[in-house]
Structures are given as C-alpha cells and as structure tokens.
Symmetry: D3
C-alpha cells in the first residue's frame, strides 16, 4: 500500500497530472514489486509565494 | 503531542469535520493514553483531479 | 481514498496501534461516508529528542 | 538537502512568509551545517475550520 | 523545486531505491517540465505493524 | 497552532536539534505572531540511501 505525495510549484494541466499519476505508479509498482492498484498518489499544486529555496521565495527569484 | 493529518477527496461539511476531529482525537487519546488537549489535527480536502489510485485520477474513474 | 498520518512521541504497543487503526478508520468512514477498505493509515513513533513544543525538545521538558 | 514544511492557521502576508523563509533557513543552515541553497521550504496556510486542537476545530474555540 | 515523498511497507534494496529515485524523477521532470536536478525525493520504509488498510494493520492481514 | 516538519539527511546531535527547535520556533513565533508554546515541531533524520536529488541517491553522489 504505497503512498506517494508530490508537491510542485504552480499549476499543472489535467494531462500533466494524468501522466505523472500513471508514470510514477508504473515506476514504483515495477521497482518495488507492489500491485499498481494498491498505490495511492496525491499531487499538490503550491503557489510560488509559499515555496522557498535557500531562504528566498520562488516568486522573488 | 500527537499530530494527525487526514487527506480526503472532495469537500466535507463543517459538521463532518467536527465529528472527525472529535472522534479521532478521542480514539487516539484513549488508545495511546495522551491528553486530548495535546492532539493537533489537520484535515485537507483535496480535489478529485489531484488524487490517483492505481495510476488513474479519481476524477477519471 | 482517505489517507491518515499519525505521529506520536514514544513507542506504542501493537494492541495500541490496532485500537488506533480500527477506531480512527471507523470514525472517518462514518463521518465522511467513505468505505473503510479505502482508508490508508500510517502511524509513526517518533523519539522524544526529535519533537519540540514551544521550542523545547520533549525529552528536555 | 533539508526539507521544511510549515503549516499555519489562517493567512500570512508575503512579508511574513519572506521572514519565515529566510529566518528558518538561516537557523537550520547554521545549526545543522547545511548550505542554505540546499534547503527547500513550503508554507501551507490552512483554514481555521480544518485544524483542531483537543478535538475542537479552531474556528469553534 | 518539486518534492516527492514515498512511503512503502517493508524494506527495499538499494537497487530498488535507485530505480524508484531515477524513474520517478524522470517521469515528473518530463511530464511537468521541471529540471531533474531540482527534484528532491524521500523514500520511507515503514514497518508492517504501523500501516493499516481498512482499519487492520498490514501485519495482521 | 503551527506545525513544523523538518527532514534532514544524516544524524544530528542533540545540541543541533535543540538549536533548530529553539531557533525555528522563535522565527515563526515572531514573524507570524503565534505564541511559542503553540508551535509543534518534528525533526526527521533520514538515511542517505533514502533521499535523492535529481534522481540520484545522496549516498551515490
């Protein structure tokens, strides 16, 4: 019952989310030997003023 | 100081959140012997195009 | 497909984990109207020198 | 490559987020001896009807 | 600066972790158009008595 | 009731954790105007073969 959480800056299209969900599930299923249907995956689209790298908000870079 | 994070697909009413907050806190407090007031709980309502099971977005099922 | 993550300070017995898993799943299933078998739950037992409240490690309180 | 996730109730101004991002990154970099540019930080502003303390939603306190 | 957290039941070999890290990073980089070197990924190997499905610990299934 | 989760590669000494707990709590309390005693903080020390950057495990860099 693997759980996957993905956080990205900015919005994704539905097609991008579909590709990520399918591709990541396939990779984990194959590499770890877990059935695909047991894998639960969440994608969070975060705003650029709420993520920082090196102490600086992405929006300010 | 237990921390609880709950992620569900779709929206909940305030009454549903109240029941979850009270019920889950009671269960953990009793089972683990932790004071109720020390338990911090977050509920995240996620959109159905951002959760996948078996590599397929819930919205597409 | 709800996901639940619970973090507690110190160790729990298996019986405590069983009670938490069953009780929390029952509460969320009933309050949110989600099938029990769709609920995935993780319990993390954290060491007391890795959790702080008010800036002080629990081990030092 | 430290990862920091901060969840707060209610909204923050951009200035508050800038101070948190810079300050927290500085503290972790100095205390743990990690380069600042390797530190990734997320801030989540949660609504008051989705956080509970002691089994009661913050909005109802 | 995507962040990925993967939680699985039981232990993985180093080779399995290498495949997951490479494969998941490739998928997200391609689908979301993010540079590979910006993707930070954590794998957590959880014990079977700390994960539950449908209210039952995996170890007891 | 802010919640802070910090994940770092490798082990920290207790003194490092004390500095991080105190310093991060102070920063968030001051910047966000939250009482210090309401801030809950977790530090996770992760092994270097379970974190990847750019698809490569830190241990292999």
């Amino acid at each position: 019952m693997p759980y996957v959480s993905i956080r990205v800056a900015g919005k994704l299209t539905k097609e991008q989310k579909q590709k990520i969900a399918k591709g990541v599930t396939d990779v984990i299923s194959e590499a770890a030997g877990k059935p695909k249907e047991s894998i639960l995956l969440f994608i969070d689209e975060e705003s650029r003023d709420s993520i920082a790298k090196g102490g600086v908000l992405i929006e300010d870079m």
